[in-house]
Amino acid sequence: MGLDTTQRGRYWDNDTAMKTYDAIIIGAGHNGLTNAAYLAKAGLDVLVVEKNDYIGGASVSREMQEGWIYSSCSYVCSMMRQTIHRDLNLTRHGLVLVPYLGTVSYGDRGETLISYTSEEVNYNALRRHSPHDADAMFRLHTDLARYAQLIRKTLLRTPPDPTSFRPRDIKELLWLAKEFWALGEKELYEYIRFFTMSAADFLEDYFETDLIKAAMASAGIIGTALGVQSPGSAYILLHHVMGDVDGNIGAWGLARGGMGAISNSIAGALKELGGEVRTNAGVEQILVKNRKAVGVVLENGDELTAGIVVSNLDAKRTFTQCMDKNDLPEGIYEKAKNFKIRGSSGKVNIALSAMPKFTGVPDNRYVDRGGHNFVGSLETMERAYDCWKHGRWSDDPFIEAVIPSAWDPTVAPPGKHWMSNFVQYCPSKLADGPWTPEKRDQFGQTVIDKIERYSPGFKDLIVHMEIRTPHEIEAEIGLTEGNIFQGELTIDQLLFNRPFPGYAQYRMPIKNMYMCGSSTHPGGGVSSACGANAAREILMDLKRGNTVPEDDCYDE
């Protein structure tokens, strides 16, 4: 079998003698590890504490069935900053990101739309549905590219504080304004419209075929408690197409060995830079003295002291569960409590004894190496959202499936496969009372029933299943409500509003305390950008030289 990416306790360190670290980072997810690596690179003595007995947070590979390695939570990646990949030598530490090809979208009546990486083939596939839509796809991609180029430039930059008069903020605001202005007046209006529109309305301007609209709209709801008809979902769509793999904007990649390869490689870099990671070390509370963070108390009662404390937990969890309310300045607790972080998705990981066959899909090398999106129609997706609103999981859910073993020989035995199913919607709180193992299994049943409709015989291939509702994701990973982005990506929680207005520069209301997770700019997705941006700010405060590289820019 392949490389064991799930070695437990590898970063365990028994040395618990009292010492003061320069920095303690809470949570060994990919952003926490990235943050620690850049602090360590500047010569700081850093410790990452992790509540689980494994590292990675939601970017993790786990062997739940012997021979099969699941990317238990996040399963694809397009926003990983390649400049960080290169700078931290992540390849040498075992990271290989492979683009995946083509996706099949399935309609309610069994019709299929296959998207290809080749422009010509893709055009022909679209023409089968509508010659008009095939042409309009070029217009859509140009428009998305125009919107995305601006956001993409901000990923590895700290957002300015629009209320501040510090030269640095004014300079950054002017830069943003200049970039916006460069769009031109018409585009400026379009842009603002775009931020407040629904994905369905946005796509209405381009396409006539429902399946094409549904296929494109699915990116607008992933990880979000919004429907395809909800205002704001257009931006989520953009968030999902602005990434790239090797400069191919909108392409998605899979990590060889599962998403844990990302966290493990960053941890490898961190270790080489002298950093330390301690597992089985959940944080009970962040210690505050004289309005300054001074360390953490672990769940086992150990007190660890540090010059600064960096939380990679989401904003809600950080302030409402890991801090004494009395240590917080007025209003912060309420802001955190009201932080929008609704769980909307579940995950079903399935070990398969063979490659499933799907109805209406030709035996095509592009297809079985790519994704399978069970979208149905805009109507079906909106109805799926209705279920969520009423506290039920969708009875006909949207499923984004990927079969990484089709190209990755390290994640399943020869001839066997594993299928990642991202499922929407699934609420964190059910209307009919708390989640139970029985309800969780019923949710899983709903998912495989739907796949069986498109792939008769699918159920007979199932060797093992791991069903994860928001309840499990919160309990295991610590993401509040199982929200994959550590807070929704709506305009009220983006850029200088993320996580809260006035606190978007990674510094928190307590001195010597910072945040570095996806609750901060630029938000969710396995990008390492939040962790790196936070490190740059911290090093500035500590008057250390910056170790964080500039982003690779594809837009100028």
Partner: protein
């Protein structure tokens, strides 16, 4: 001396510009985008369907490439070893049967004609593989020796199977004995009822094998390998020359005529290169008896080096195609990029570059001036470059014996 220059002569059809390889029926079936080019006169795919997928087949799973067009010579006769050891700069007198070694050869001025590999097939019998036609030079070099030089480019079908699962794929295809085959080793075996030779060699820097057989077995060999994929066991993908170009630069392998001008094609003085100037001093052995170019190379070695082909990693993500190189940003011009790729595995621009030395020393800080286009408008940027004295990318699986099983 006896020279055999028969190359299916008398059968040439002027309407057929590029000849098909014995694998062509399968190659054509797999090549979706019909992106053809000529490699040594053969119709060869640059890309089969998607370059990124082909590249990652080599680095993540398993790739298959038709290697038949590579120039191949059978060297035999009583003086075979004497002939080869005088031809090439490396001492090959210790090359045992069933072993392969990498070599280059020079003209009398010590300028490189080509590079290649020597396979010691059986006691006293060798195969020399080269990038370009070498028969003329080989026959000149064979004057006065009892040696036979036979062009066998077209008589041997060859297939490269490379990538981390190459061992598992071939084992599943029924190849036996690969577990003990070390890098640069040769194994004679049988598969699908015919004889073939397997060498653990390649141009990818990864785990991999090259399979050599009679052209009449070509399709059966192809099918035996691809049957592993059809059984659903492992992913396999054909790769074209474009993907090969990417991995060979990552692995630090040079390409004569692309990275440096070969001596027999050089018209202008000073445009040819010695082994030292292309960073291949390590395959020159002065301790052995006379070889062609030895005196010139000894003289050159006593003087400070003037220039060298270096492996260069270039900052940022702008492609440094044909870029000029400078000693310091906007400093004195000191060289050019010869070949370059974006490395998807390292997330970096990598290049082979010709760089001038000053008083025997490398420039302190090399910068590239990069011209690139955005929506038909040209831009220029400067990027810092760093010399890599080792291959850009290596992996222990390349030499692990037995290789890892999947």
């Amino acid at each position: 001396m006896s020279g055999n220059t028969q190359q299916r002569s008398g059968q040439h059809d002027f309407r057929q510009v590029l000849q098909p390889s014995p694998f062509h029926p399968r190659v054509e079936e797999h090549c979706r985008v019909k992106n053809w080019t000529s490699w040594n006169g053969y119709q060869t795919a640059r890309v089969y369907d998607t370059l990124a997928a082909e590249y990652f087949a080599i680095r993540s799973s398993c790739s298959v490439m038709d290697l038949t067009p590579m120039e191949k010579y059978r060297i035999g006769g009583p003086d075979a070893l004497k002939f080869l050891n005088r031809l090439v700069a490396r001492d090959i007198s210790g090359l045992k049967p069933n072993r392969v070694t990498y070599v280059l050869w020079c003209n009398d001025e010590g300028k490189v004609l080509d590079d290649g590999t020597i396979f010691h097939l059986r006691q006293g019998e060798y195969r020399l593989c080269s990038q370009h036609h070498q028969l003329d030079w080989l026959l000149i070099s064979a004057l006065g020796m009892d040696v036979s030089v036979i062009v066998e480019t077209h008589e041997i079908a060859a297939l490269a199977v490379q990538g981390p699962t190459a061992y598992s794929v071939l084992t599943a295809a029924g190849f036996e004995g690969l577990d003990q085959l070390k890098p640069f080793g040769i194994l004679y075996t049988q598969v699908a009822g015919f004889e073939l030779m397997v060498s653990r060699t390649g141009y990818t820097g990864d785990l991999g094998y090259e399979l050599w057989t009679d052209p009449s077995n070509a399709l059966a060999l192809w099918d035996a390998v691809f049957e592993v994929r059809d059984r659903g066991l492992y992913d396999l993908r054909c790769i074209g020359l474009d993907a090969l170009e990417m991995v060979r630069i990552e692995a630090g392998f040079i390409m004569p005529a692309d990275d440096f001008n070969t001596a027999e094609t050089t018209v202008r003085a000073g445009h040819d290169r010695s082994p030292f100037e292309i960073g291949l001093g390590w395959v020159v052995n002065f301790d052995k008896p006379h070889f062609t170019g030895k005196q010139a190379l000894l003289r050159e070695k006593s003087r400070p080096i003037k220039r060298r082909l270096v492996k260069l990693a270039i900052d940022g993500n702008k492609p440094p195609i044909d870029s000029f190189l400078y000693d310091g940003k906007k400093g004195r011009r000191i060289g050019t990029i010869k070949t370059q790729i974006w490395s998807p595995i390292l997330k970096a621009n990598l290049a082979m570059a010709d760089v001038e030395y000053r008083k025997g020393k490398l420039p302190k800080e090399i910068w590239a001036e990069i011209y690139y286009q955005k929506e038909l408008e040209w831009q220029v940027s400067w990027a810092r470059c760093r010399i890599s004295e080792t291959p850009f990318w290596t992996h222990p699986r390349r030499s692990a014996t037995p290789p890892q099983s999947f």
